[in-house]
């Protein structure tokens, strides 16, 4: 018997029991069945929130005095993709936002064309999944206006945002950031493709030249460095099939909570 057991059998037993519990809980967490059971709560949360929150209800908006002086930039802060670096160095002069997929008229919008579309400004709170919040002012083209000018086909169910940044350094495309939302959020009044932040062109750490704002969901849904918008009828063919970079890594697709 080791000395720790002679001196304090109870302490040793308690520590062993605790260690056993920790291992058991980790094993449970990693079991596919438990994961599937726990993930079922996401559907319940989404259906409940969608049932109780009117489709058009606006996220709270704030005054200019509430704007955070220290708005945190998370995820990729400076994409290294050579095509993006070239665009950035030219002041995004050659930027074209591609809109394709299940649309009648695929588009390639320059920043000037994007700025000419119906726009909206809003001072909103950005809630990161990590727990912190920052408040900023966003100005951008209404996503509904972009989709209307492209003509969404009847079978389109999701809007996918393909980004310029790889958040996970991979040789293939699997580390590239992407996100997706459904049509409820796509046509929401506050859902915009923001090109200005706090009345200045969107800075690179916050997603220049264009980022998505989808104000009733957590920060990782707000895709930065948006290069291409694709209308699809299913998310299964993208990435690992869960509808986003973080979704493919275990986070909820519906990030309303």
């Amino acid at each position: 018997m080791s000395s720790i057991h002679r001196r304090g059998w109870l302490t040793g037993a308690a520590a062993s029991a605790a260690g056993f519990m920790l291992t058991a809980c980790d094993r449970l967490t990693q079991s596919a069945g438990v994961q599937a059971a726990l993930a079922s709560a996401e559907g319940l949360t989404q259906r409940t929130q969608r049932a109780l929150i009117p489709r058009a209800a606006l996220a709270p908006e704030f005054g200019p005095e509430d704007i955070s002086p220290d708005f945190r930039a998370n995820g990729t802060r400076n994409p290294q993709d050579p095509a993006y670096v070239a665009l950035r160095d030219s002041g995004f002069a050659g930027y074209r936002l591609v809109v394709d997929g299940l649309v009648d008229r695929p588009l390639g919008l320059s920043l000037a064309e994007l700025r000419a579309l119906p726009a909206r400004s809003q001072i909103t709170r950005h809630d990161c999944v990590e727990g912190w919040s920052s408040i900023g002012k966003w100005t951008g083209a209404r996503l509904s206006a972009v989709l209307q000018s492209a003509g969404l086909k009847a079978e389109a169910r999701f809007i996918v945002f393909h980004c310029a940044d790889k958040l996970e350094p991979t040789a293939d495309e699997s580390g590239r950031y992407y996100e997706s939302i459904d049509l409820d959020d796509a046509f929401h009044e506050q859902t915009i493709l923001a090109y200005d932040m706090n009345d200045a062109p969107l800075p690179v750490p916050h997603g220049a030249p264009v980022r998505l704002r989808v104000e009733r969901q957590l920060g990782y849904k707000h895709a930065k460095y948006v290069m291409r918008i694709e209308a699809v009828d299913s998310l299964s063919g993208l990435g690992r099939g869960k509808g986003g970079f973080w979704e493919d890594r275990g986070y909820e697709w519906y990030a309303g909570i």
């Binding site: 809980c25 726990l38 949360t45 509430d66 727990g131 912190w132 275990g250 909570i257």
Partner: protein
């Protein structure tokens, strides 16, 4: 037993099936919610007051720092800084709460959120069932609402004195909860547990589109997060005291009562 006079014992039926089932469901849900909640907290181990985070000026923050080639864990509360090496800030790795306190033990915000939001539903549905059953059966009014004679100043002082000496009631008084118990249970059931739900909901960005009045009342989203943490701490404190009192008042009798419903009380010698 030989050589020891035992007071005559009477078995009473203390807890209904609904109370027992919801008690243990709640115990499991609270355990998972507390530990997965600390996992989520570890993703950003700092607390703020107000709507947004002021990163340079948190109210509470757990950080790791290097001192003389060694990592130490530091916890800041207001203007005070405490060395919490091994527990908070640094425990073999840089993390807010240590591995033994979080679910899962390894760092995974995604897994912590899965556990948390599944058991949040278990907690809410279970609490609703308990309250509905308690109203219908009269349990809340009969067992938890203080009776008139318990509210007299002499009775209250007497009870506090007995409680402080861990002297537990026998006979008639053992048939009902004492005032301190009743008030504690009422505060936990009607204030702290609902506050957990409301502060939790207030962190949901979707909820803000319909419930911003509540978020504003709580002082903003970051205040709601801080209050969520504080009321969770109150629940953890309640659980510790609750378990200690169960042990002090007779672990076997109390646990049996919450499993089978049957509770033994000693008759006072006539």
């Amino acid at each position: 037993m030989f050589g020891r006079k035992r007071a005559p014992v009477e078995m009473i039926y203390r807890h209904t099936l609904a109370t027992r089932l919801t008690h243990w469901t709640n115990a499991l849900a609270i355990l998972v919610l507390l530990t997965s909640g600390l996992q989520i907290f570890n993703a950003h181990p700092a607390l703020y007051w107000g709507e947004a985070s002021r990163f340079a000026d948190p109210w509470v923050a757990m950080v790791a720092a290097e001192q003389g080639g060694q990592f130490v864990g530091l916890t800041r509360i207001g203007d005070a800084v405490f060395d919490t090496t091994g527990v908070l800030g640094f425990s073999g790795e840089v993390r807010g709460f240590p591995a033994w306190a979080t679910l899962p033990s390894y760092r995974s915000l995604a897994d912590g959120r899965r556990w948390h939001f599944f058991f949040a539903w278990v907690f809410v549905i279970n609490l609703a069932i308990y309250l509905a059953a308690g109203l219908i059966s009269g349990h809340l009014r009969r067992d938890l609402l203080p009776e008139r004679d318990q509210l007299g100043p002499r009775h209250i002082l007497h009870e506090i004195a007995n409680h402080a000496r861990l002297r537990f009631p026998r006979g008639h008084e053992a048939r009902r909860y004492n005032l301190i118990q009743k008030v504690t249970y009422l505060v936990v059931i009607f204030v702290v547990l609902p506050l957990m739900l409301l502060t939790g909901l207030s962190m949901s960005p979707a909820f803000g589109a319909v419930g911003y009045g509540l978020i504003e009342l709580l002082g903003g989203r970051q205040s709601a997060r801080t209050l969520h943490f504080i009321s969770a701490s109150l629940i953890a404190l309640f659980v510790l005291v609750h378990v200690a009192m169960v042990v002090a008042a007779g672990a076997w009798n109390n646990i049996r009562a919450m499993v089978t419903g049957r509770f033994a009380i000693e008759r006072k010698a006539a």
